[in-house]
Symmetry: C2
């Protein structure tokens, strides 16, 4: 398979260490693929060197041509509505994919910006579609990923109190960190309060006050962007009805 038409590749060495040795290998797209299938996927991705905080991966309205798998760091996706207001759609940490919403229209539906120094794999979609077709396991994985995003997004759209939303968000972030092998009780938030507030449809002041209250109640310990979860059960009691992580098992509703 020719390695032609690679524009942004940083170096041969970096390309070579792509998927096979990537830390995302069992969490990103290639989940459950054999060595040769992995090879196929590897041959199309562009590993992109450190993207600095504030740099954009893509912008709303751009022609959609690639998905972006985050290898390290964190990315925020957002839109600017026709009143000029920013809406934060989500955050993408290592092992997660951004850009899926651009597929259907052929244009990116949101902006994606690095929240910190970040490395990503750009996966050209046209070529991905070919590889998907050749590798059935990849097709299934792709559908699973999109389905999970859909679940998470639908959950995020539901009606809950500020308290429930923040508690739920912390729990979901904790699970996502755990999936990455990070300690689930020690969250280092990659985003400022403003972005977190926008994502949860709250004011930054409300976030601040809720953190203060959660801390008073011994649920968490918060210092700037470092959040330590002290009482996951209590947090679950508050935010259990709102877990936008896309695969929290449904707790059975209390019928009483």
């Amino acid at each position: 398979m020719p390695a032609a038409r690679d524009s942004n590749v940083v170096s041969i060495a970096q390309l070579r260490q792509s998927c096979r040795s990537c830390s995302l290998r069992d969490l990103c797209l290639p989940l459950g693929l054999g060595a040769d299938d992995m090879q196929k996927l590897e041959s199309i991705v562009h590993s992109r060197g450190p993207i600095r905080s504030g740099e954009h991966l893509f912008r709303e309205g751009d022609a959609f041509h690639a998905l972006y798998a985050v290898k390290s760091g964190a990315v925020k996706t957002y839109t600017i509505d026709n009143q000029g207001r920013e809406h934060v759609l989500g955050f993408h940490i290592a092992g997660e994919v951004a850009g899926l919403d651009g597929i259907h229209s052929g244009r990116n539906r949101c902006n994606a910006v690095a929240l910190q120094a970040t490395t990503v794999c750009a996966v050209p979609f046209a070529r991905l579609e070919q590889v998907i077709h050749e590798v059935p396991g990849l097709q299934a994985q792709m559908l699973r990923i999109m389905s999970r995003e859909l679940s998470a997004s639908a959950q995020l759209a539901t009606d809950h109190s500020a308290e429930e939303r923040l508690a739920g968000f912390l729990l979901s972030l904790s699970k996502r960190y755990a999936r990455r092998g990070l300690p689930p009780d020690l969250l280092s938030l990659p985003m400022p309060r403003r972005d977190l507030a926008s994502h949860l449809r709250l004011a930054t002041e409300t976030i601040s006050r809720l953190f203060a209250r959660f801390q008073e109640d011994g649920l968490v310990s918060v210092r700037r962007r470092e959040v330590q979860i002290l009482d996951a059960e209590a947090l679950e009691a508050l935010g259990g009805s709102f877990l936008p992580d896309g695969d929290g098992q449904r707790r059975s509703p209390q019928l009483r």
Copy 2:
């Protein structure tokens, strides 16, 4: 291709008139497929006779085994959270698909209930995956559909005023009706106020008051569930920043 293992088929005749003559043929999954590809898809779907209002297509927690394409009528999807509160995730009219969020976990992530007499195609997912693999056009269409749902859901999760949400919803419903060939200015809402309110994270009273105001302002004419759009431009001015239809073209933000 054997027609074996069909359990819920209503009659041979009904099966035979499946996809090829179905009114959804260019709007549902088989978009852009040739006759033989259509044949493949047709061979796996189960056309299900009239489902009465209030009957469920599937329930949260059930094993996921099929997608449901609505042929006529309307379906509501919803969850019950662990506090016993209902959250309406969305409405599915003719030509739209429900159940996509169940793919990743192998369990349905929500309940789906008919809002009126409804007919659907049940598409067994395991078999759909095979057909998708054999028909590249179907693979692309499947990804497009999921991407569109994702866009719509993300948009729905954003922060907007009650006014913007209702106006945006009406516009999006109008577009969806238009896509079905129905007059885009004459909306017959399939859902009661309560469901619409839940979906838009509002109280039924707020919906009522907004409809009254929109009517006073000459934007719409509302009588029970019959809504006539009188001034689409004015409605667009109110709800243009919130169009959860998944493929409204982005209006460029006013930078001033």
